[in-house]
């Protein structure tokens, strides 16, 4: 029977291959969407660990996480250095890492921070940042124009220790102004982390101050020129930062410190727990994800409907074939099985091709996604969700195949040996 079904299907491979293609595409869509969803979540969840609180100007927790940790979007407000010092002085606080964002280098975000960043920042399963090459910036006046770059920056721009680079005001674009008068030197390259760190250029907070000495409100002050060396003579202590990462001596104090920060007098601050903020993010993103998944599900349904339509449409021309099978002793049940098998074979082949295409696409597009969005795709390991979707496509295909099977069953019962076509 399987042999017959395969031979019969092969005989009509022209039409069936179109259906097969549409099932393959639908499967690929479903699987890659699910895989992307999982890997994006994993990427985000990996991005920060060991940080108990993220503090910024009062805004949404999701927004704060997005700009402080993922370098997505911008801050509406900064927080003053006084507030930073006040938080750092809290007795439950073990360490703080200030973050200053806003500039870029060839599309990669520039992060102003302190040497404490290399000491305390952790990602994934509490892994510390490690140097692939060179050393962290010194944080001193002598090393004012030192930069440490992430693995992705180094790889895609071909930078290594010793490379000189200039920063761009803002996030780049055609009209962006360069801080060309104050070039930086790469002193270190970080190991790959699979987090936004890979795409970041790290400099000291003082360097951020220095390149903005002769700037105001996002534009260079006309007539004012402060050279790279002269800048060292100015007060380079930052007045404000974008956000603050906080580590506590004991996690138990996290809510107390959060309350303390949220009620900080003088400035509207907000402290969020990274995990809680991420959960909130998934709630927002989840809606879109579900909508996308539902649409892909519909695409799969349409493909299967196409399968049913094609097999059904071909049925009339095959009534002779069914009569021949009946004449040599095949029962109507055999006919049902034959037609259902055909649909199942097409579905199975389509789903397998779709899965293979997904794996191939991950291999092909993975590096690009990693570079553009810092999302590490995992090609080798299909997630539970993907297995489930794959199985769902197969089961739906089998159920759909019963429709032409049943129709053929009825036809061959009614036709007997002489189809009335």
């Amino acid at each position: 029977m399987l042999h017959l079904a395969a031979r019969s299907a092969w005989n009509r491979r022209g039409t069936l291959s179109l259906v097969l293609l549409s099932i393959a595409l639908a499967t690929a869509l479903l699987l890659s969407l699910e895989g992307l969803r999982r890997d994006i979540r994993a990427s985000f969840a990996q991005a920060v660990s060991g940080t108990d609180l993220v503090i910024g100007a009062r805004t949404g927790p999701v927004q704060l996480m997005l700009y402080a940790v993922f370098r997505v979007g911008g801050a509406t407000n900064n927080i003053s250095m006084d507030s930073v010092r006040a938080v750092a002085a809290h007795r439950a606080v073990a360490w703080t890492v200030p973050l200053s964002l806003g500039d870029s280098h060839r599309g990669y975000p520039v992060l102003g921070t302190t040497v404490a960043y290399f000491e305390h920042f952790a990602y994934g399963d509490r892994q510390r940042l490690a140097m692939a090459e060179g050393r962290p910036f010194s944080g001193t006046l002598d090393g004012l124009y030192e930069a440490v770059i992430g693995a992705e920056v180094a790889q895609s721009l071909g930078y290594r220790a010793g490379t000189r680079l200039t920063l761009t005001h803002g996030m780049g674009g055609d009209l962006a102004a360069e801080h060309a008068d104050k070039p930086f030197t790469v002193v270190g390259v970080l190991e790959r982390t699979g987090t936004p760190v890979d795409r970041t250029v790290h400099v000291s907070l003082q360097a951020i101050e220095a390149i903005h000495l002769d700037w105001a409100g996002g534009a260079r002050l006309p007539g004012l020129r402060i050279g790279a060396e002269d800048a060292r003579k100015f007060d380079l202590e930052p007045k404000q930062v974008t956000a603050l990462l906080v580590g506590l001596k004991s996690r138990a104090a996290v809510f107390a410190v959060q309350r303390h920060v949220n009620s900080h007098p003088g400035e509207a601050l907000m402290a969020v727990l990274p995990g809680v903020a991420l959960d909130e993010l998934w709630e927002v993103v989840g809606l879109g994800e579900r909508a996308l998944l539902a649409i892909s599900g519909l695409v799969a349904l349409v493909s299967l409907a196409g399968l049913v339509a094609v097999v059904l449409a071909g049925l009339n021309e095959r009534r002779r074939e069914l009569a021949v099978l009946r004449a040599v002793g095949a029962g109507p049940r055999h006919v049902l099985v034959l037609l259902a098998l055909e649909g199942m074979l097409v579905t199975l082949a389509g789903a397998l091709i779709g899965a293979a295409a997904t794996a191939a696409a991950v291999v092909a597009a993975g590096p690009w996604l990693q570079q553009q969005f810092g999302i590490g795709l995992q090609a080798a390991t299909p997630a539970a969700g993907q297995w489930l979707l794959f199985a769902a496509v197969l089961v739906a295909g089998m159920l759909a195949s019963l429709v032409p099977g049943w129709r053929a069953y009825r036809l061959s019962l009614a036709d007997g040996l002489s189809p009335r076509t």
């Binding site: 031979r7 092969w10 004449a327 040599v328 002793g329 029962g331 109507p332 049940r333 040996l417």
Partner: protein
Amino acid sequence: MRPGPPCPQHNLLVLEIRDLRYAWPGTAGDCLAIDALTLEAGRSVFVHGPSGSGKSTLLGLMAGVLLARAGRVSLLGQDWAGLPAGARDARRADLVGVVFQQFNLLPYLSVLDNVLLPTRLCAARARRCQPAPAPAAQALLQRMGLPAPLWTRRADALSVGQQQRVAAARALLGRPALLIADEPTSALDAAVRDDFMDLLLQQCRDSASALVFVSHDERLAARFDERLSLPQLNRCRAPE
């Protein structure tokens, strides 16, 4: 010799119809009513009648694909109506061979695979092929005037006349008790038709299969042991 189902012998009653009444599903009146019709092993009967006289219906009843509303249609003493659907299919695969007017073959199978189709679906029929289904099928094809180079070709690569001979070989493989032919020559021209008739009748005699041959071409009737007119046999008025 392995014991098989009853070997068709002369004087053995292969087909017996008694008081048959048949109505198409959904229609009120009977369209076929035959009081008595019998056929012995190795005998051939020619059934003729115009289109729409119920020839195909009669063949469907004989093959156990259709069931009578009343009366008996028995093959080797077993009434088709007394068997469940699955058993009817198995019995048909075992004991009946069918040749249609045309489009007898599955186009996507080779000639040989087409001939072997009934033995794939029925073990008893495969066992009756001596020494084995494949050599028996090849011998039969040879005798039907289809040489070895044709056997591996796709069935639809053959001429219509050749295809009908392949269909006859398939129907005859495993020496079925009853061979049913539904206008098998109407798509053939005269010379090919005569060849085909000679081969078909000869092979039926050799395998002692009873032959029911339906046609509207009465010139063929002389070759058969018996001839029947369906309009005379059928006690119902043919539907207009």
